[in-house]
Each structure stands twice: as structure tokens, then as C-alpha cells.
Symmetry: C2
Subunit: 146 residues, 2 copies
């Protein structure tokens, strides 16, 4: 099908969670604000820059993908990253995430790729790297350009 290009973007990341309200509370403790009535709708949406992050029941999400549900907690084949503007901010965000209930898997440290990063798991085991990459620009609006 020549001529139908897929634009280079992601609209939505949905994270499968055990309990939408618990997961929402974690992201709100980080400082995010939910955009909808998650209790009534059974799903929580967060505007995240140019895209949306959703929290939805893990089993429902698996079925929606046509896949068998799997137990939470293991490596899911992906990781998210939150890039910041300095190494010190990496440490601050990791400390803040830990207070909000995250599990720190790597404290902030220099990386093999020349930056500084650490990594936490959210309460459902989804990995978030917190990184300062001196070669990538984080704009005022938070967008990241390679």
C-alpha cells in the first residue's frame, strides 16, 4: 500500500495495572494530574506532553490486545524514560519517586553512554529510567529532541 505513511509519533501508552486508583495515586504523588473521572470510567488518562499516558486493568488490556494475561512483576520487554536537565535533578526525581512508593532498581550513577541515570519501578513493576543525557536537549516544554 504505497503512499500510506505512518507518522513518526506515539499517541498513547497504556500501562496495565492491578488497581487503577492505586496506580493513579502513585502518579499523582509524583506530581501528575489525572484528566478524567478514573473511578467512574475504570481507566485513568494523563496528558503527557504531545501524547497521553493511560492506566488500565492489566487483564483487560491483555485481552484488548488479543493476548493471554500474564502475571505482573517481571520484565515486560519495554522501559520508559524521563529525561531531566541535570544529574542533580536525576537524584531529586528518584528520591521523590521513592517517597511516592517506587522501587529504586538503580540509584543515580554515570552510565556507559556518557550520561547520568537511575531507574525505578512503579507500583505495578513498570520501569522508568530517570536520565540526564548531555547530548539530548530537553526543551522548556519538556519535549526531547535527538
Amino acid at each position: 500500500m504505497i503512499g500510506v505513511g505512518v507518522e513518526q509519533r506515539v499517541s498513547l501508552i497504556t500501562l496495565g495495572v492491578a488497581d487503577v486508583e492505586r496506580a493513579r495515586a502513585f502518579y499523582e504523588a509524583l506530581g501528575w494530574r489525572c484528566a478524567n473521572d478514573s473511578k467512574a470510567q475504570g481507566v485513568a488518562f494523563f496528558q503527557a506532553g504531545c501524547m497521553v499516558v493511560a492506566l488500565w486493568g492489566r487483564e483487560e488490556l491483555a485481552r484488548d490486545c488479543g493476548l493471554e494475561p500474564t502475571p505482573p512483576g517481571g520484565f515486560g520487554g519495554f522501559a520508559l524514560a524521563y529525561n531531566v536537565r541535570s544529574p542533580a535533578e536525576v537524584d531529586e526525581v528518584l528520591a521523590h519517586a521513592e517517597e511516592a512508593g517506587a522501587t529504586i532498581m538503580r540509584p543515580g550513577a554515570e552510565t556507559f553512554w556518557g550520561g547520568y541515570s537511575g531507574l525505578f519501578l512503579d507500583p505495578d513493576g513498570h520501569p522508568w529510567e530517570v536520565a540526564h543525557n548531555p547530548r539530548w536537549t530537553v526543551a522548556e516544554d519538556g519535549s526531547v529532541t535527538i
Copy 2:
């Protein structure tokens, strides 16, 4: 740690893959363009709107998260979505993805939430919903606002 807010955004999604060059070829067949020398660096980066999508070896990514590698192919606890501007475009993108080597898990159809969507898996089993949501705006630049 009062006062350290985490901005409401995602900088990077890294997908664990069996073979970076094969995965890169799939996303390029969709119409994306890689931003770096993936063969030399062992990782492929794609600018994706305000953020970046990376393809990296699944085992290396697991270890980087401090987690045990898991076999590919099952449900990983997450899904991505690509929102488009009409139901017809959902069908076009799904057909295009299938030609590029994706596995269609759901053909385009009306959804319980009042939109129209289908879903494919990329060659490493990562789920992408292709969706038209009449209540969400897809801007000219591809950004999605709830």
C-alpha cells in the same frame, strides 16, 4: 521531598527487540526514519513527536532495568497506540502494517468506547492499537490532546 515535581511527560520509550536491525527495518517499512547509526551503536532511535522511540536488545534492556530477561512474545503489561483522523485511516494503517510484517490481532472495528480501532503486533510482539477516537483531537503536528 516537597517541591520536586515530575513534569507530566515521557521522554523515551525503549522497546526490547531480538534484532535491532530487523526491528528497525520494520519501523522504516511503516514509514519511520531512524535518527542514528543503529548498526554501529547497537540501538536505533526515532524522533517521535515530542519524544523518542528506541529499539534495543531485549536482554540488555532487562539487565539495564535490573530485571531478569524474559522470553519475548507474551503480553508485556503495556500497549502503545497510534491515533488517526478517521476510521478509514485505521484500516489503511493496519493494512500497511501487515504488509510491513506486523501481525494483526484485531481488524478495524467499532469499539466499546465509541471509537474505531484495530491492533497489530510488531515483529517482537509489542502491541500497537491503531485508533480513531472521535473525542480526542489529533493536531496537524500529530500531538493528541484529551
